[in-house]
């Protein structure tokens, strides 16, 4: 077997093995594929400043970024996607791209840019996990990175202002959650009955949003309405990350199996909500952009006052 592998990542809280999305993805995949990783959290070390998290160290090789780490694990014969067909493998890539493009900006915004959440939850957490004197500037550095990423990838034109893109990224994220929910349906995992890399990515993105104690988050309340996604997260936590012996997923009889119709009705309602929101945003955008020369031909409904005036006999 390969040399011992060590993963450096942020520590855990709120019932999760790690609060950092990318670290969670790697941890979940390691559990799914049976890879033994020794987890060394970077909390309270100077690695919070120097290391790029998450990072896998195996002998002499150092691998960074979740996709690279997963590739490396696969090469070491820890493959959770072994039983997927070629088509399912392609679907995996597509859904991961969907998560990265649509959900990540909103997650970054919820945790790092939204003023209330940042000052009440994120900054204290990361500051308390960083050694002195790094706790003064690590959280703000991470917040800057997050803000830049959102603006540069979603901002339009040279006038990058966060307020303009906020509405759009949240409605995209809600749509993404709806699509995930449709795809998951009533199953335990996205493909058949065993977890794969797509499940790892989905878990990494969804679990912090589900479990964190956020003061104000429309995205979190949207996620809470999607029962199958929250159940998905809880299942994985119970089966793979609980301190006692992992229970078999088959013992699901304790939970009430969701009725397909109510779930569909729920999803329909949420889809309509998202569509209405995006219509509203489009209207606002249109108003901002409508050029002054092209006034729309509005047949102004004559105010009733004048018509009543006309009707009054002279």
């Amino acid at each position: 077997m390969a040399a011992a592998m060590e993963l450096r990542c942020w520590g855990g809280d709120w019932g999760l093995p790690s609060v950092h999305t990318d670290s969670l993805v790697v941890l979940a995949y390691a559990k799914f594929s049976g890879a033994k990783l020794s987890v060394s959290p970077v909390d309270w070390t100077w690695k919070t400043l120097t290391a790029s998290v998450p990072e896998l160290v195996c002998g002499d090789t150092v691998v960074q970024e979740p996709t690279q780490i997963l590739n490396f694990l696969r090469k070491q014969r820890f493959n959770a996607d072994y039983e997927l067909t070629a088509r399912q493998g392609a679907d995996t890539m597509a859904y991961i791209a969907l998560l990265e493009e649509k959900l990540r900006p909103a997650l970054l915004h919820t945790f790092w840019v939204d003023a209330e959440n940042y000052s009440n939850l994120t900054r204290p957490w990361f500051a308390s996990r960083s050694p002195f004197p790094l706790n003064f500037f690590i959280p703000s550095r991470l917040a800057n990175v997050a803000l830049t990423r959102i603006l540069v990838t979603r901002g339009e034109g040279l006038l990058h202002r966060i307020s303009e893109v906020e509405g759009k990224i949240y409605s995209d994220a809600k749509e993404c959650l709806n699509l995930l929910s449709y795809r998951l349906g009533t199953a335990d995992y996205f493909f058949d009955n065993s977890p794969t890399s797509l499940d790892a990515f989905a878990f990494g993105f969804l679990a912090p949003l589900h479990k964190a104690d956020l003061a104000s988050s429309p995205l979190q309340s949207h996620l809470r309405q999607l029962d199958n996604l929250t159940r998905f997260c809880d299942n994985i936590l119970a089966a793979h990350f609980s301190p006692d012996k992992p229970r078999k997923i088959a013992a699901r009889s304790g939970l009430l199996p969701p009725v397909q119709e109510t779930m569909d009705a729920n999803l329909q309602k949420l889809t309509q909500l998202v569509n209405k929101e995006s219509n509203l945003i489009e209207k606002m955008d249109d108003n901002l952009r409508s050029s002054p020369q092209h006034k729309p031909h509005r047949t102004e409904p004559k105010p009733s006052l004048s018509s009543s005036k006309n009707s009054t006999p002279a």
Binding site: K102, E156, S278, R289, S290
Partner: protein
């Protein structure tokens, strides 16, 4: 009062039929347009042709600045201006034309996921190859981008655009890569492999019917295949998948038979 006029405006948008003089604006074909912009423009053109909506293509050197979002292409329909494929699809849907209505929810989720895959991998790789590879940027991208302008304005604009794109690549973690690190071409290969496997032997991605995903994939793949860059590696990666090649040929023959698509 403001809201009332607003609602009226939106309703009138939906009610107006598609006019005959709808136009699509893009940069100059022969000298100025770049790979990624041409791909996006071709995607929108393909989509509109699939919907059966007439559109005239007009080339303007300042198309990028006229666009409401700064991105190419944009269409001018009636008194509305809409840019990029996503908003164009929504706009035509408001007018009652849609290609993906017959898909069920799971299929629609898949379609959106694959479209994001193209944006995430193919478009990002195209931008990287154009602007972050010094050879390509110096020989092709900057000269083309600055061609309509006189010196030194052209230089300034080209370097500004390059700076912007490199900043974006840094933000998503592609900053330190070079083409020699092969990661970029490997990503293109994986993306094409995924698309090829999804397409299989079907005529379109969702069997019998063309959707916006087909338009998007066609736009990007066709442009990659027919654009000359400093090296042919990008095109080679696409060519190794024969069903993608025949897919492009089929769409070109079905929807573009009246138009000369090849760019010199």
């Amino acid at each position: 009062q403001f809201l009332l006029a607003d609602r009226f405006h939106l309703k009138s948008t939906a009610a107006e039929p598609w006019p005959e003089n709808a136009t699509l604006y893009q940069p100059l074909m022969d000298d100025q347009i770049l790979l990624s912009d041409h791909a996006s423009s071709l995607s929108v053109q393909a989509y509109l042709r699939m919907c059966g909506l007439p559109i005239q293509v007009v080339c303007r050197y300042n198309a990028e600045y006229m666009s409401p979002s700064g991105k190419i292409p944009f269409i001018h329909v009636g008194n509305q201006v809409v840019s990029e494929l996503g908003p164009v699809v929504q706009f035509t849907k408001a007018k009652g034309h849609s290609l993906s209505d017959s898909l069920d929810d799971v299929q629609r989720a898949e379609m959106k996921a694959y479209m994001e895959l193209v944006y995430n991998m193919l478009l990002t790789s195209e931008l990287f190859v154009q602007w972050c590879d010094d050879a390509t940027a110096g020989e092709i991208s900057r000269p083309r981008y600055s061609s309509p302008y006189s010196w030194p304005l052209g230089n300034i604009l080209a370097y500004q655009k390059q700076w912007e794109v490199r900043r974006k690549m840094n933000a998503i973690g592609w900053g330190g890569k070079t083409l020699e690190q092969v990661q970029v071409y490997e990503d293109v290969n994986q993306c094409c492999q995924a698309l090829s496997q999804r397409l299989g032997t079907q005529p379109y991605f969702f069997n019998k019917q063309a959707t916006e995903l087909d338009a998007l994939v066609f736009g990007h793949l066709f442009t990659i295949l027919t654009t000359r860059l400093t090296s042919t590696e990008l095109a080679e990666r696409v060519k190794s998948y024969s069903n993608l090649l025949s897919f492009c040929r089929r769409i070109e023959q079905t929807y573009f038979e009246d138009k000369k698509l090849m760019k010199d």
